[in-house]
């Protein structure tokens, strides 16, 4: 439990030195289905979506983008308020439950109201293409 708290907001120095912080791979909620390559136990992801539900008792949030939704476990987040209808971005690790339902255990969260989601999705495609080209050029 204490270790999990360290993963959250107050990252401990010695712990940080020993463990590299993984980058949250950029993914849209619509891409997060069981057949997707992103849908892996423990995958570090960054997701963006509109807050649909938030339960104070469990600290579970549900964000949506288009027709896709994802549960977010926000128990390790501090200094963040939850407003239904606001757009949030979370970085964390994906936990796939036995019933194949996924929940993101967030270690970072922020409000991104005002984000242009169309621009974001288009830029993400360009970014992926650039990364793929770069990788191809460096291996060839």
């Amino acid at each position: 439990m204490i270790k999990l708290k360290k993963i959250g907001f107050g990252l401990c120095g010695s712990w940080m030195a020993a463990t590299a912080i993984k980058s949250g791979e950029l993914v849209t909620l619509e891409e997060l289905n069981p057949s997707s390559p992103f849908f892996k136990q423990g995958a570090s992801l960054r997701v963006t979506g509109k807050l649909q539900e938030y339960t104070v008792e469990t600290a579970i949030a549900v964000v949506a983008d288009g027709n896709a939704t994802l549960k977010i476990d926000t128990q390790h987040l501090r200094d963040i308020s939850f407003r239904i209808g606001s757009i949030y971005q979370f970085i964390g690790e994906l936990l796939i439950q036995p019933d194949n339902e996924a929940i993101l255990q967030a270690r970072v969260g922020r409000i991104v109201d005002g984000i242009d989601l169309r621009l974001y999705h288009q830029s993400l495609q360009l970014l992926r293409q650039f990364q793929a080209d770069h990788l191809n050029n460096s291996t060839s």
């Binding site: 990252l11 940080m16 949250g24 971005q89 970085i91 922020r110 005002g114 621009l119």
Partner: protein, 189 residues
């Protein structure tokens, strides 16, 4: 090796920055040189979400910046008033630098989007940015703009600089007669 980007804060995505080629040198000020496609790079500008923070008061702030393509370790020194390294510097300017660094440290919090500029250094074999300044971005679209900037600059500027040097090197190293034969062959073909 092309030096034209030597004094520029090169805008790089994390995956690109973390894959720079490191070469040890005999210089004490810059013990490692970093190159990308035959171009020497010493400074960078990165932008991303702060995902970890470790503060040693009056010594340093270590933090990581995640831009979605990788996680970059950064160090912001806070020891300007105590380290002998700075003892020859003007006390008034040292105080200003120290206050500025303390201000940057207070701005760097987990979850903010930070634009970080600094010198590229190596620490335990990995790339690390020694921070010179930090700006916290409030506009949520700034990350997408930064990705576009990095892609555009890489394609139109950074890749071209190294490519031009590489072509120049090939031309210099290929004897003139061989080049002429090659060119003639091309014309005939």
């Amino acid at each position: 090796m092309d030096q034209r980007l030597q004094n520029t804060h090169v805008k790089l995505l994390a995956f690109d920055l973390l894959s720079l080629t490191q070469t040890p040198t005999f210089s004490t000020s810059d013990p490692i040189t970093f190159t990308r496609k035959n171009t020497t790079i010493s400074r960078t500008e990165i932008l991303g979400v702060v995902t970890s923070r470790e503060l040693k008061p009056n010594k340093f702030l270590k933090f990581t910046v995640d831009d979605g393509t990788g996680c970059i370790p950064c160090i912001l020194w806070l020891n300007h008033l105590t380290s002998p390294y700075f003892s020859r510097r003007n006390p008034a300017s040292l105080k200003l630098i120290s206050d500025m660094a303390a201000h940057f440290a207070s701005e760097v919090r987990i979850g903010v989007v930070a634009r970080v500029r600094g010198r590229i250094a190596g620490y335990r074999g990995a790339v690390q940015v020694t921070v010179s300044d930090v700006v916290v971005e409030r506009d949520p679209n700034m990350e997408a703009f930064h990705w576009s900037d990095c892609i555009r600059l890489a394609r139109n500027c950074y890749n071209v600089v190294g490519g031009a040097v590489e072509r120049y090197r090939v031309e210099r190293e290929t004897p003139t007669c061989a080049r002429k034969i090659g060119e003639k062959g091309k014309e005939e073909g």
